[in-house]
């Protein structure tokens, strides 16, 4: 199993600003992902964080809005850029190995005013 530390746990931000969320895994993992969870909706995959290369984004998500870094096998960041109230959501970091079982961080509750 893997333990994932995610921070901040929550934040309240002003419109037009950016927030960077950090995700630290306690062991080397093959895959790292970023999800968004909004009330009444299923978990939505934002992107796959690739170690040492550009992230792979899902339809509807772009690098300019959600830049992602993964400098090594245990750490990744997600930035939510130029925020608007529509970006208010829970953002989740997850990680897994080849068996596709995912472990999740506790999430970042983001509110944009």
């Amino acid at each position: 199993s893997a333990v994932i530390s995610q921070k901040p746990s929550r934040d309240i931000c002003q419109r037009g600003t950016s927030l960077t969320i950090q995700c630290q895994v306690d062991s080397q993992v093959t895959m790292m992902f970023w999800y968004r969870q909004q009330p009444g909706q299923s978990l939505t995959l934002i992107a796959t964080a690739n170690q040492g290369s550009e992230a792979t984004y899902e339809s509807g998500f772009v690098i300019d809005k959600f830049p992602i870094s993964r400098p090594n096998l245990t750490f990744s960041t997600l930035t939510v850029s130029n925020m608007s109230p529509e970006d208010s959501s829970i953002y989740l970091c997850s990680a897994g190995g080849l068996n596709e079982k995912l472990f999740f961080g506790s999430g970042t509750q983001l509110s944009v005013l």
Partner: protein, 111 residues
């Protein structure tokens, strides 16, 4: 289109009252079906993976089963600490690593 539907949306049980949660799926070849538990303010916690019809997995008061169209999460004699949202997700055979999630069932167990 691949799809996961969970029912009921919400379920309220008395302590000790057994019940089942349903996860119906439509995928072009199932690679795996996953059950997670999510407590308020926390990320999903892995419970089970099922790979083929007829497979069953158990953990304490929970048992997950799988058919070719759906999965059930059976909760036997639940306790208040079983209160949580239970999420189901699938991976199809042609789209590794991208889980398709249901909306979840919110379970409340009253003492």
């Amino acid at each position: 289109e691949d799809q996961v539907t969970q029912s009921p949306e919400a379920l309220r049980l008395q302590e000790g009252e057994s019940s089942s949660l349903n996860c119906s799926y439509t995928v072009s070849g199932l690679r795996g079906l996953f059950w997670y538990r999510q407590d308020p303010g926390k990320g999903p916690e892995f419970l089970f993976t099922l790979y083929s019809a007829g497979e069953e997995k158990e953990k304490e008061r929970l048992k997950a089963t799988l058919t070719k169209k759906e999965s059930f999460l059976h909760i036997t004699a639940p306790k208040p600490e079983d209160s949580a949202t239970y999420l189901c997700a699938v991976i199809n055979a042609g789209n590794n690593r991208k889980l398709i999630w249901g909306l979840g069932t919110s379970l409340a167990v009253n003492p």
